[in-house]
Amino acid sequence: MFVSLSPDNKAEIMKDKSLISITDFNKEQYLRILEIAAGFEKNPNQKLLNDHVVASLFFEPSTRTRLSFETAANRLGARVIGFSDSGSTSVKKGESLKDTIIMVSGYADIIVMRHPREGAARWASEVSSVPVLNAGDGANQHPTQCLLDMYSIMQTQGTLDNLQIAFVGDLKYGRTVHSLVQAMCNFNATFHLVSPEELKLPSSVKMHIKNAKLEYHQYTELNDIMPVADIIYMTRIQKERFSDPMEYEKVKNSYVLNKSMLDGSKPNMKILHPLPRVNEISEDIDNMPQAFYFKQAENGVYVRQALLAAIAGVK
C-alpha cells in the first residue's frame, strides 16, 4: 500500500524542498507523505519541530486551510508566526511580494502561503531562502489539499490504483480538481467529468490526462456517473463564475447530490468535497456511509503534519 524506503534516504527525499504544484513531487514522494500521515493519524502529538518556526502567510482569508496548517505545526511542537489577511501588513503599504518573502524567510524555517494571484507561490519559492508550501495560489494549485484528498481516497478504497473518479461541479476554476486530476494521472485513474458547459476542465489540465494516455469522459448530467464512480468529488458552483447569470440559474440545481441518487451507486463509492459546501451535497447524506467529507477535512491535519515533518527533514 505504501512505498517504504530505506532508513538512509527517508529524511533526504523531501528535506528543504518546496511544494508549489502537485507535479513538483513524484509518485514515490506522494506515497511517502501518505505513509508518514498515517503515522501521525495514529499518534498526532509528536514534538518533532520544537526548534522550528513556521510562517503562516495568508494574503487572502482562509479559515479551514490556515487552521489545519497551524494545528499541524502546533501538534509538531513548532511555533507559528504570520498573518491571516494582508490588510494589516506592509503589503498594504505597497511592499512587494519578493520583499515580504525575503524578510519572512529570515525569521522562519518553513513558509506556508496562500495568495490570490496565480504563480505567487512559485515566485515566493524562488526568492525565499527557506522552503515554501503552497496553500493555494489563485485559481491555480492547492497541492496540500490534493494530498489530503489522496490520503482520503487511499483510506476509503484501500488503493490509489485503477480507480473511476468522478469530478462534479466547477471544474474550470476548481484548483483542488486541477491538482487531484494531475496527481491521479500517476495511478492509472479513469476520469469522469461532470459540469455545465461553461465550467469544463481546462485544456491545460486535460493535457496531463492525454500525456498519461488515460481516459476521460465528459457529462452534463450527474446521474450518469452514479453506477461507475468509486469516488465522487463534489465542488461548489459559484454564481460569480458565470458570465451570464441566466445560465447559472439554469444549472445551479443540476449538480446537487441528494440521498435518493445514491441508490444506483457502487457499494465502495465514497463522496469527497473540499468544503465549504453550500447546497451541492444535501444534508440528508451526511450520516450515510458514503459521506466522507468531514473525515477528509480532519485528514488535512495529518497530511500537513507529514509535509512539515518531511520538508524539515525529521521524517
Binding site: L97, R117, E118, A120, R122, A139, S203, M207
Partner: protein
C-alpha cells in the same frame, strides 16, 4: 514584344534579411522588432511569390543584426522565417529560425491574475505545443495561445 517591369530592390551591404515570413504577417514582425523606428534603411515586401510556401513576406534591414531574444520573437511570430546575415554584400549566415523550448522575458502572460502581471517579475514560458504555438507560463501554469501572444 513583352515589356516586363521589375521592381529594383538593391542588395544590402551589411545587415539582415528576414525571409519566408508567412504572408500577411510581415507588418506584425516589423512591429514586434520595433523596426518602424529604425534609423537605417528597411525594405519590406509582402505577398511575394515563394516556391516553397506559395506566398511570403520579406524584410531587409541595413546595418542591423538581431540578438537571441529578437530571433526568438521572430520564431514565435513567424516560425517559417529564415534569417540571412550579410556583410560586405556576402551572405555570412543563413538559418531557419527554431522555435525554442523555453522563452524568457519577451512575452507577457495573458492571464491578468498572474503574479507576473502584478509585480516586477521576468516572465518565463515553456512552449508546450510548437505547432499550435501554445506557451505555458512557468508561474501561473496557464496557457497563452498564439493569438494572445503579446511581446514586450
Amino acid at each position: 514584344m513583352e515589356n516586363k517591369k521589375h521592381l529594383n530592390v538593391n542588395a544590402i551591404e551589411n545587415g539582415t534579411v528576414i525571409d519566408h515570413i508567412p504572408a500577411n504577417n510581415v507588418f506584425k514582425v516589423l512591429h514586434i522588432l520595433g523596426l518602424e523606428k529604425n534609423k537605417d534603411q528597411v525594405l519590406v515586401g509582402d505577398n511575394l511569390e515563394s516556391r516553397k510556401y506559395g506566398r511570403k513576406g520579406l524584410i531587409k534591414v541595413s546595418n542591423t543584426f538581431f540578438d537571441k531574444n529578437e530571433i526568438n520573437k521572430i520564431a514565435l511570430a513567424a516560425p517559417t522565417a529564415t534569417i540571412i546575415e550579410i556583410k560586405n554584400f556576402e551572405v555570412v549566415s543563413k538559418k531557419q529560425v527554431q522555435v525554442p523550448d523555453t522563452i524568457h522575458q519577451i512575452v507577457k502572460c495573458f492571464n491578468p491574475n498572474c503574479i507576473t502581471n502584478n509585480e516586477e517579475i521576468p516572465t518565463r514560458f515553456t512552449i508546450v505545443d510548437k505547432e499550435a504555438m501554445k506557451l505555458q507560463c512557468h508561474y501561473c501554469e496557464k496557457i497563452t495561445v498564439k493569438n494572445n501572444i503579446i511581446f514586450f
